[in-house]
């Protein structure tokens, strides 16, 4: 099933290395994200790999409404990535704070902290949706 490549990701040339930041999620999205790399969905066959350091990453996946305490670390993680760099907001919370909107510890959606290139809606999003979003970046 072909996907429509994201123009901003053209420079990646079919290789996407992902660093994940949980900015305050309930961990539902993390479970789905973990499934995306499991044998069933296997994001690796589309040229996507999780890495251990933002220095190695091209793409930052962020979940959850950004809490006050995670706003700084999220920004620092983004700054620690070499250009070109892309951000994928995974889940409804990352998009608009979801059910946590207005909470006293919530800073705001991901886009208020770092520029977001792609959003994956859902609470939580299905692994297939995450994989297809990542495929738009790798173009494969």
């Amino acid at each position: 099933m072909p996907v429509e490549p994201l123009p901003a990701a053209a420079g990646l040339g079919g290789s996407v290395q992902v660093r994940h930041v949980d900015a305050g999620s309930c961990n539902g999205c993390e479970i789905e994200l973990g499934q995306a790399f499991s044998p069933v969905y296997d994001a690796e066959r589309h040229g996507v790999r999780l890495v251990a350091s933002p220095r190695h990453a091209d793409v930052l996946t962020v979940t959850g409404p950004v809490t006050v305490n995670m706003a700084g670390p999220l920004r620092k993680t983004y700054e620690a990535m070499p250009e070109p760099r892309l951000v994928v907001a995974v889940g409804d919370c990352a998009r608009d704070c979801g059910m946590f909107a207005g909470g006293y510890g919530v800073h705001g959606p991901v886009a208020t902290v770092v520029p977001v290139d792609l959003q994956v809606p859902g609470c939580p999003p299905e692994p297939a949706a995450i994989v297809s979003a990542l495929r738009r970046l790798s173009g494969r």
Binding site: P54, P73, E79
Partner: protein, 672 residues
């Protein structure tokens, strides 16, 4: 008078001039004058050495200079090698001294301390050229005394210096006594005290005498060389002496212990039975392994370098042992290769260790500390020093294309290629020796990565390190000279081939052990070869090529905060220190190093489950010292105290002792 004589006399005269300049001149000029005289004496000594290794011999006997025996000097290729080595090191250190001692006029720049420096060099130049037992002993003792006084230059600075001086004095004098006994026995047995007479008469010696002489001399020389277990003075004296003196001692003086072993065992005694060499090899293997393990866990930069000296001496002794063993088995080609390895390693070690001790001195000069856990961040504050120390560390770690690698390669070749005719002992000993060399090399790399990585790189761990500035040009020039010599030895080691040929011929093993067509390094009788020049050009060329292409084609580098997991910032306290770097190695070799650790937990007053403070302490004492020397010192101390009871100060008692002694002598006389 030939070239050797002229150069040697010039060296001694210049050293005397330097000593008097040190005594007479005002503090402002003193360092420069003494440094210049040391350089000149060193260069003259090296010229004499170069002439001697290229075939010019010289012998002289001055009867009137010493009562009874006179002074005999004899220069051959073997002596020339060590003259060259001592002279070269003195030249390098002389340049360095000018900047290091400075114009303060105190400590190492005091009148006496500076005046002694050229005298020390002169004594070291005299040791290899001594041609008789009495001359040798005189030069040896002169060297010991001058170096002892130099070690004590900063005795006001800390009690550790005085302790180091005490250890060095006791061990060097004990060593001297043993050598004196050995050589006197030898001279008495052959009925002549000139080396020529000894050499001629050695064949008729009984095995008891020659083995006794060998054991006595080996013990004395090995203690001067810093071989384990006769090493405890070395890490103390090298660490506490001013750095230019440490450099002279570690790079030059310690090698004269090796010279002593070669002169007595190979030359005067003309080789010996197998067990001599197995013993020497065992001492070498233990020195190499124990030395490098202690260096790997040391956090004091100069102590680390001192233990690394023990390690390198161990490798040299291993080479000598292999040479002796193979010569005894009649495999002269292998013996030649082993001897070449040992000699080349003396030169290589002199080069990189002079450089590294001077580097440690520069660090001490700039920061006031030699504790690696307090250093760091020097690569951006002292870039030239860091670069030069890197050259030395590359050699000391025996990595290609450093100079230490070439001699370790030779040593491995000598050990690898003699199996078929060797018999059971060699079949077992050779792989064990190879494993020892390999483990030593491996731990050596870890040691010098630690020294360089924690001492010079990343962030400074103390205010003193943060305030460091680059050393004055004279210090850098001295180190640069040493680095140039190291590079030369690393890239074209074949320059030493003619000298090694003459030495090997003189010691009656295969001549021309080392040869090469300019680029390739080959060994007589062994099919292996390497080209150090190609390796160096390859590594440097390809690395520069890749860096240049990547730089030209890629984006520019951007400085960013070190990745701190989003929190931070990272502080110097979070960096790995030398202690933490060595922790895995310390754990792996726990049985050998036997660290002492204790953990004190202070509980909160309210509850035993709440901890207020945890204190962790770890010490790594030198186990040989605490197990072997402490009991001896305690026993000697007890005997001394017991002897005090004999001398109470009462005149009556002393008269009674005298009467008893007189009666005893009379009775003995009558009974006979």
């Amino acid at each position: 008078m030939n070239r050797v004589a002229v150069a040697l006399c010039a060296a001694l005269a210049l050293a005397g001039l330097g000593a008097s300049a040190g005594l007479v001149l005002p503090a402002r000029w003193r360092s420069a004058a003494v440094g210049a005289a040391t350089v000149a004496a060193g260069v003259a000594g090296a010229v004499a050495g170069a002439a001697a290794v290229s075939g010019t011999g010289w012998q002289v006997r001055v009867a009137g200079l010493l009562p009874l025996a006179g002074v005999t000097l004899a220069v051959d290729a073997l002596a020339g090698w060590f003259l060259l080595l001592v002279g070269g090191v003195a030249a390098v250190v002389g340049v360095y001294t000018v900047g290091y001692t400075g114009r303060t006029g105190r400590g190492p720049a005091a009148r006496g301390a500076l005046a002694l420096l050229p005298l020390f060099v002169a004594a070291m130049l005299l040791v290899p050229v001594a041609g008789s037992v009495s001359t040798f002993l005189l030069a040896w003792e002169l060297m010991a005394v001058t170096s002892l006084l130099l070690v004590l230059s900063e005795h006001r600075h800390s009690p550790a210096v005085r302790t180091a001086g005490l250890w060095y004095a006791a061990m060097t004098q004990a060593g001297f006594v043993v050598i004196l006994l050995g050589l006197a026995w030898l001279a008495a047995a052959v009925g002549g005290e000139s080396f020529a007479a000894v050499r001629a008469g050695a064949a008729e010696l009984s095995p008891l005498v020659s083995s006794g002489v060998f054991l006595l001399c080996m013990a004395g020389f090995a203690s001067k060389a810093g071989a384990v277990p006769l090493h405890p003075w070395l890490p103390r004296a090298h660490a506490e002496a001013p750095s230019h003196v440490s450099a002279l001692m570690s790079a030059a003086m310690v090698k004269l212990g090796v010279y002593g072993i070669v002169r007595v065992a190979f030359d005067l005694l003309g080789g010996g039975p197998r067990w001599w060499w197995l013993l020497l090899g065992a001492v070498g293997a233990v020195s190499a392994l124990y030395g490098i393990l202690q260096a790997a866990v040391a956090t004091d930069l100069k102590r680390l370098l001192a233990f690394s000296t023990s390690e390198n001496i161990g490798l040299i002794l291993l080479g000598l042992a292999a040479a002796g063993l193979l010569a005894a088995a009649g495999q002269l080609a292998g013996a030649g290769a082993a001897l070449a390895a040992a000699f080349l390693h003396t030169a290589n070690h002199a080069g990189f260790k002079a450089l590294l001790f001077c580097g440690a001195g520069s660090v001490l000069h700039a920061t006031g500390t030699r504790d690696l856990d307090q250093l760091g961040g020097l690569s951006r504050r002292m870039p030239v020093t860091t670069g030069l120390v890197t050259v030395g560390a590359l050699g000391a770690a025996a990595l290609p294309p450093g100079n230490g690698f070439v001699s370790e390669w030779l040593l491995l070749q000598a050990l690898l290629h003699q199996v078929p005719a060797g018999g059971t002992v060699l079949t077992i000993a050779a792989p064990v020796a190879v494993a020892v060399v390999a483990l030593t090399a491996g731990v050596g790399v870890a040691t010098f990565v630690k020294a360089l990585g924690t001492g010079f790189l990343a962030r400074p761990r103390s205010a003193a390190a943060a305030a460091a500035i680059e050393s004055p040009p004279t210090m850098l020039a001295g180190m640069g000279l040493a680095a140039a010599v190291c590079t030369g030895l690393a890239v074209v080691p074949t320059v030493a081939a003619p000298a090694l040929d003459r030495i090997a011929t003189g010691l009656r093993v295969e001549s021309a052990p080392l040869h090469g067509s300019g680029i390739d390094l080959r060994l007589a009788g062994i099919a292996s070869s390497i080209s150090p020049l190609w390796i160096a050009v390859g590594v440097v060329g390809i690395a520069v090529g890749f860096a240049a292409v990547a730089r030209a084609a890629g984006r520019p580098r951007r400085r960013a905060r070190a990745w701190d997991c989003g929190d931070g910032p990272l502080t110097a306290r979070m960096e790995y220190t030398a202690t933490s770097f060595a922790e895995p190695l310390q754990r792996v070799f726990e049985d050998v190093l036997a660290p002492e650790q204790d953990v004190d937990v202070t509980h909160s007053a309210e509850s035993a489950y709440l901890v207020r403070a945890v204190e962790y302490r770890r010490r790594l004492p030198d186990r040989v010292e605490s197990r072997l020397y402490r009991p001896v010192i305690v026993a000697a101390d007890a005997v001394g105290r017991a002897a005090c009871r004999l001398a109470t100060g009462s005149v009556h008692r002393y008269l009674a002792y005298m009467l008893t002694a007189l009666v005893a002598v009379l009775v003995a006389g009558v009974l006979r």
